[in-house]
Amino acid sequence: MKVIEARQLTKRFGNFTAVDNISFEVEKGEIFGFLGANGAGKTTAMRMLCGLSKPTEGYGKVAGFDIEKQSEQVKANIGYMSQKFALYEDLKVWENLRLYGGIYGVPKKEIDPRIDAALKQLGIEDEKNTMVKALPLGWKQKLAFSTAIFHEPKIVFLDEPTGGVDPAARRQFWELIYDAADRGITIFVTTHYMDEAEYCNRVSIMVDGRIEALDSPKNLRRAFKADNMDQIFHQLARKAKRGEN
């Protein structure tokens, strides 16, 4: 079953074409890596899929809803985690979870059990009443992921979720991602760590607003005759005409 469908999606800002005619599909429960250099158009594409920005041309469906005409339903069925781990630092751990539960309309009597379950999964039951600002960065990151999937969305969009976190914490984080994927949550993740790209079921690589490659890491390595994703990425990124940003 396809949960994300993009058909010739294009976004222009004046004369600048940020996203240029991209098409792809993502299956349910898949971990889809969305790669590209800074300024390649990743964030703009993701904003369109999240219903934050309207496509100039083209068509997209997320969780079975039209991203342009049914953006409210799209929003209700997705989770989103930004690279800033946007938690409220002056709220306690459980209050952050309750807040997003309330905003996404999680039934009241389910909120407490879900908070306990989420904290247990993260192994931070003792930190339930801790202010978020007192948590180490790696924990914040995991907590941000838990809040993003607190309402059991069909798809979760992760925008460079592992920025600035050490490798050990990144590995733990990917365990959470696998766990969510096993439960049937589709993962749409942007990253610039190429070792993480290897963890994805399929990856797409954007260059100058276009998708230049899209396949499983294994098939891509074969097609590009490369040892790892890093080499493929550099081969493609070298073609880029746009500067950084």
Binding site: L52, K54, F85, Y88, D90, L91, G105
Partner: protein, 368 residues
């Protein structure tokens, strides 16, 4: 509705958990009104004066006594030589020195002309001119008494009556002004900073991706500051009445009604500012410079608008606080009703509608 309540509760947490926000929101208005009400005052009471009197006759003694028994002055000392005058000022001991001419009474009787010199400390021009005015008045009164004794056929008695503020209390003027300032500060500054903060931290983006409608986001951000503004208004009003002795001559309901409209205007200004910037610091500076300064300088709080150059007088007309302060003065001090402040009410309402529409539109545009 639950989204709204959850989000508003979060907003209150932000406020209550940050000590500086709390101080800013609740203590600051109280400090303002007390400072302005007591500290910054143009009233003169018991000002210390010195007298140099080479005549020491019945007339000068009389005038000196009159000065001393008035509530404005307190006689510090008699000077022996004119040289002491400057020393006294330099020491800062006296605010004014009264210098009588020689053979004061004799001259007055025979030539019909006697001289008295009032020297005041001009480094504080307002106080100096008030002191000399009061002293001249007292001397004039003595002169009139003399005239009465001499039974001259004509005399003109000048009496001054100040309406609404008979004792010339500056608090009457300051209180409405501080109300305008406090409301602008709380509503516009705090709202714009709190929205800019969410943008800076990235939480706004996450909230925008959620199914929460933009209008609801704006409302939940604004409601806590609306509530706190009303609390603050009440605080300032209580202090004004019970501590500063400013009466509420008009209708209390009208006071709140005008204030609520002004709060809407201020909140919309805060929203507008936050839609222009993503940085807390910029929002803070814009609110402080763009809103606070004009309110202090041009709303009539400090300087009378009538005395301003034509350009500034024009600018003053578009400052919401100017209309609000005028309306509050009319209701509170003059005791007028809502129908007497229709012009102010209309201008404020129009501003509120335009600003709210503009800020909501801006907020939506940002979402595309």
């Amino acid at each position: 509705m639950r989204q709204f309540l959850t989000f508003t509760r979060k907003e209150f947490y932000h406020i209550f958990r940050d000590r500086w926000t709390m101080i800013m929101l609740l203590a600051f208005p109280v400090i303002m009104i007390i400072l302005f009400g007591f500290g910054i005052t143009t009233e003169i009471q018991n000002s210390k004066i010195a007298i140099y009197d080479p005549s020491k006759d019945i007339a000068t003694n009389n005038i000196a006594t009159k000065l001393e028994i008035s509530e404005y002055f307190m006689l510090e000392e008699y000077l022996d030589t004119p040289d002491q005058i400057e020393t006294k000022f330099k020491e800062g001991k006296v605010g004014m020195v009264v210098v009588f001419g020689e053979r004061f009474y004799e001259n007055l009787l025979h030539t019909g002309e006697a001289k008295v010199l009032l020297i005041a400390d001009g480094t504080d021009p307002n106080t100096a001119s008030t002191l000399t005015t009061y002293a001249s008045r007292i001397i004039m009164m003595y002169q009139q008494e003399l005239l009465g004794i001499e039974k001259l056929p004509y005399s003109i008695h000048t009496e001054v009556k100040l309406l609404y503020n008979p004792t010339m209390k500056s608090a009457y003027n300051i209180v409405p002004g501080v109300m305008g300032m406090v409301l602008i500060l709380i509503c516009a500054l705090m709202t714009s900073v709190s929205i800019a903060r969410e943008k800076e931290l990235g939480t706004m983006e996450v909230i925008l991706v959620s199914p929460m409608p933009p209008l609801l986001i704006v409302l939940s951000k604004v409601v806590p500051y609306f509530v706190i503004s009303l609390i603050n208004f009440t605080n300032v009003l209580l202090i004004a009445v019970f501590l500063l002795g400013v009466p509420v001559n008009g209708n209390l309901f009208s006071l709140y009604f005008v204030s609520i409209i002004f709060i809407f205007v201020s909140l919309a200004l805060g929203l507008l500012i936050s839609s222009v910037t993503d940085k807390q610091l910029v929002a803070l500076l814009m609110s402080a410079m763009g809103l606070m300064m004009p309110v202090v300088m041009l709303s009539g709080l400090m300087f009378p608008i009538e005395n301003m150059p034509i350009v500034l007088r024009g600018i003053a007309q578009i400052i919401p606080a100017k209309w609000y302060i005028e309306a509050i003065r009319n209701i509170m001090i003059k005791g007028l009703g809502l129908k007497d402040i229709i012009p102010e009410l209309s201008v404020l309402s129009l501003m509120a509608v335009v600003l709210i529409a503009a800020s909501l539109k801006k907020f939506k545009i940002r979402l595309e």
